[in-house]
Amino acid sequence: MRRRGQFYTAGAVALVILLLIHILTLPRVEYRPMEPGRARALRQMLESLTANALAYATRSSESSQYTSRASHFVSEALDRVDYRILRVESYRVEAGGGPGRAWARAEYVVEGNLYKVEASFAMSITGFRVYFSNYTLEYLADIRLYAEVDGRPCREVYVEETMLLDESLSVKSLTNLDNGTFIVVIGLGPMPPPEGSKLTLLVSDWRGVRVEVGVEV
């Protein structure tokens, strides 16, 4: 009877030892979160890349081809970058646009983390008038614009080109009123512009994303 008891005790001890050995030899799982600064920097790099890809697309193609152009840009950029600094495991980019707006959405998988980033630029004409200036002795178009970058009021825009009836016009002044509102004054020349003609502006934000807006004179 006692021997049986000892046998059971020895068996239990052996089982406990085996269990401990099993637990101690389990692979150690280490949770190493990315430092907040680096994670933020990584997101910002990917946001800038997406915005730059959108800028490239808006400068080189029609809006229907924005996705393919932006994807091409991202692919080439990631091929060129040193993989020791940034290794993107997979990515997906889609982009689109229309009159007065352009957008891109992208997903990147970096070091096992998924980053969803967006870039957009939207612009609309909120006011327009044509008048004759007694100072410059020509007709001027005074256009009030509202611009948003990534859904927030834009702080800086560039009027790259203004056209009326396929003729390039000069920008007299560009005033930033803050909160995304800008006033552009365009010289139309000494003759009044033809009624119903369309004045077109190519405007870009500070990242180079370009959109086209137009207004009927």
Binding site: Q6, L20, R40, S48, N52, A77, R80
Partner: protein, 135 residues
């Protein structure tokens, strides 16, 4: 004697288990509390570069190859009391220009590498390496 021997064997095994468990706990706790490299400086460097890039200023200084502008921008985001060195490299890691100020000490520094992919829709890779020391 035989029984005594068995009892001592079991005692020894139990003692061994207690020792192994104790050592295991000590190592696990040490893993948890052991001193690590302070990520604060590297973190500051990454945050500074990301902050400048989010407004487009970093690209302006880097692609304009303007060390003075870069220095002014970095001075505005890196707290006083920190020394730093910022070097900009081209796509093939060829050094383009560098800025070093405020008694930078390379032996006590942490670095961050930031990538710029281009400017205004053009593709042109630049590596910005910012090392910060002090604090």
């Amino acid at each position: 004697m035989n029984r005594w021997g068995q009892a001592r064997t079991i005692d020894a095994l139990l003692a061994l288990i207690v020792i192994v468990l104790g050592l295991s706990m000590v190592f696990r706790v040490y893993e948890f509390v052991k001193p690590r490299d302070s990520p604060a400086l590297g973190d500051t460097a990454y945050t500074a570069l990301a902050s400048l890039d989010s407004r487009g200023y970093l690209a302006k200084a880097v692609y304009g190859e303007d060390p003075r502008l870069l220095e002014a921008l970095l001075n505005s985001v890196i707290p006083a009391g920190y020394g730093y060195n910022c070097t900009v490299y081209g796509e093939d890691w060829n050094k383009l220009f560098s800025v070093e100020v405020r008694g930078y000490d390379p032996y006590k520094a942490s670095s961050a590498v930031y990538i710029l992919f281009g400017y205004n829709g053009t593709l042109s890779v630049r590596y910005v390496v910012l090392s910060i020391s002090g604090g």
